[in-house]
């Protein structure tokens, strides 16, 4: 039978591609709002420019490494899809392969971008871009192969239980979180941290970022069904309600612990809920999704203070939200996963599946965590030795926006009317200050 193009599914994957794309600026704003105003542009630049790099690497050889024929279930062929010309076709079996190239390209770019939130205010821009490209090549592309290609995680089977990582709790969030952790250990703390408060300079920007992330996450999760069907619909519903649970839970923790429910908490709870439901969104019913989100909301809200106790400056809580949230979703599946569609999916402890699912989930999570941590650490150490990865104290103090990008984000004259300052130099650069 000739392969039949399903235009509905293709349309949904095209859209999902665009939706995951908007998570990239969304992420940039989510993090950028948390910067002090002297370094917001650098954060936007890190996320956007690593996308420039990883996007090109993905179509050059990344897709091939992830989805090419496997070498020892570790990595795909470098050449099977080199330049992705092999994926060009008008039709396809269900959907044209090229739409998968585009859809997954966004995952690669986003995952790398996630790491940037940890290194705010102090990393050399060039070193960041090199780290991004190398980490994508050595870690993300292989791990994508492990989970979604023909790799060992996809092959894991213990007592009939197979790893569930629907949209990438392991491949994306645990992976990025582990890399972020080791990178900030190598990079060191921001000057003045944790003595100086370093509070978000623009919480409306954080909220905009969270809103765009949530929006795009519908494509991230429901697009991962690779079909416009009831699986995608359940993933979408769970993406909504787990996030509601995560947001509400985080606000409650803050209310009880700190006395006030903050907008930074709402935004963080949104992301925590989204992260946790990512691996799980097609394997639980909506009320269980609320529970997963809520547990992630509570645990991540508690986890973000760990850095103060352990002393690593994970600036915008990539570890506390993505690593912890990813672990929450991945491991909770071991308990609460059910065979919602009656197609024989692995089920968790509470659905009578015993500990098998929990075991494979833990192995997958642990394997990716360790691999990413180790390789990212080595890459960071090598870069540090070879070219340095940290800006000078002077540049950090006066702000990396000015030092690295010759810009200040804002030149807002609120009096407006007179336009007295506008453009006369207030927004311009006091180079002698450097």
């Amino acid at each position: 039978m000739e392969p039949v193009l399903d235009t509905g599914t293709t349309a949904w994957l095209l859209v999902s591609t665009a939706l995951v794309f908007i998570m990239i600026p969304g992420l940039a704003f989510f993090y950028g709002g948390m910067n002090r105003s002297k370094s917001v542009l650098n954060m936007l630049m890190m996320v956007i420019a690593s996308t420039f790099v990883v996007g090109i690497l993905w179509i050059a050889y990344g897709y091939s490494m992830a989805y090419g024929s496997t070498t020892g279930n570790f990595v795909g062929s470098f050449t099977d899809y080199f330049g992705v010309t092999q994926a060009i076709s008008v039709g396809g079996d269900g959907f044209p392969p090229m739409v998968d190239v585009a859809f997954q390209a966004m995952f690669a770019c986003l995952t790398v971008g996630l790491i940037a939130g940890a290194v705010a205010d102090r990393m050399k821009f060039g070193a960041w871009l090199i780290f991004a490209g190398v980490w994508a090549s050595l870690v993300y592309f292989p791990v994508a192969h492990w989970v979604w290609g023909d790799g060992w995680i996809g092959q894991l089977n213990i007592g009939g239980a197979e790893v569930i990582d629907f949209a990438g709790g392991t491949a994306v969030h645990i992976n990025a979180g582990a890399a972020a952790l080791v990178l900030v250990i190598v990079l060191g703390k921001r000057l003045g941290w944790p003595r100086m408060p370093m509070r978000p300079h623009n919480l409306t920007m954080v909220m905009l970022g969270a809103g765009l992330l949530w929006f795009g996450w519908f494509g991230f999760n429901a697009g991962s069904a690779y079909a416009a069907d009831g699986v995608a619909a359940l993933a979408a519903t769970n993406t909504l309600v787990a996030t509601c649970g995560g947001g509400l839970a985080w606000l409650l923790v803050e209310r009880l612990r700190d006395g006030h429910a903050t907008s930074l908490g709402a935004a963080s709870g949104i992301v925590a809920g989204l992260v946790a439901i990512t691996p799980a969104c097609a394997n639980v019913t909506p009320l269980v999704a609320v529970l997963i989100g809520a547990v992630a909301g509570v645990l991540c809200a508690l986890a973000v203070t760990l850095k103060y106790r352990l002393g690593y400056d994970d600036s915008f809580d990539v570890v506390g939200v993505h690593l912890v949230g990813g672990l929450v979703g991945t491991l909770m599946l071991g308990f609460v996963a059910t065979d919602v569609f009656g197609d024989g999916a692995s089920v968790g402890l509470f659905a009578g599946g015993g500990f098998s699912l929990l075991t494979v989930q833990a192995i997958a999570a642990g394997g990716v965590l360790i691999y990413s941590f180790v390789i990212a650490g080595i890459v960071a150490l090598v870069l540090k030795a070879v070219m340095g990865i940290r800006v000078s104290a002077e540049d950090e103090t006066s702000g990396v926006d000015l030092a690295l990008h010759a810009e200040n984000a804002y030149d807002i004259v609120e009096s407006g009317g007179g336009g007295a300052f506008a453009g006369i130099g207030k927004g311009s650069i006091d180079r002698e200050d450097g």
Binding site: T262, G265, L302, V304
Partner: protein
């Protein structure tokens, strides 16, 4: 003539404005400022972490007034800006040698 400079809590601006108006003050110039004083050392919790706050928002108000009006204006400012809590601010007086109204070129008391 004297220049009275008052540094007060921002939410008291409206009250101060009303109080000095009642004393017949015809004008003032206001800037946003940050203050550092005994309030320093005060600690806050945010996102589960504690830290010390050094600079807190203030408004800085300037009134040029006739010598005779100084005590009344100071009383009005102090009375209206007072909350009794730390950080209420300061009011100080400096001498002014001359003042001109740009619109008319009037000088001295007429310029006020």
């Amino acid at each position: 003539m004297k220049l009275i400079t008052a540094v007060v809590k921002p939410f008291k601006l409206e009250d101060v404005k009303r109080a000095v108006e009642e004393q017949g003050v015809h004008g003032m110039t206001v800037t946003e400022a940050s203050g550092f004083g005994r309030q320093r050392g005060h600690t806050e919790v945010y996102r589960g972490a504690e830290y010390t706050v050094d600079l807190v928002p203030k408004v800085r108000i300037e009134f040029v007034v006739d010598d005779a009006d100084v005590p009344r204006v100071i009383d009005a400012v102090v009375g209206s800006a007072h909350t009794g809590k730390i950080g209420d601010g300061k009011v100080w007086v400096t001498p002014v040698e001359s003042i001109i109204r740009v619109r008319t070129g009037e000088q001295g008391p007429e310029a006020l």
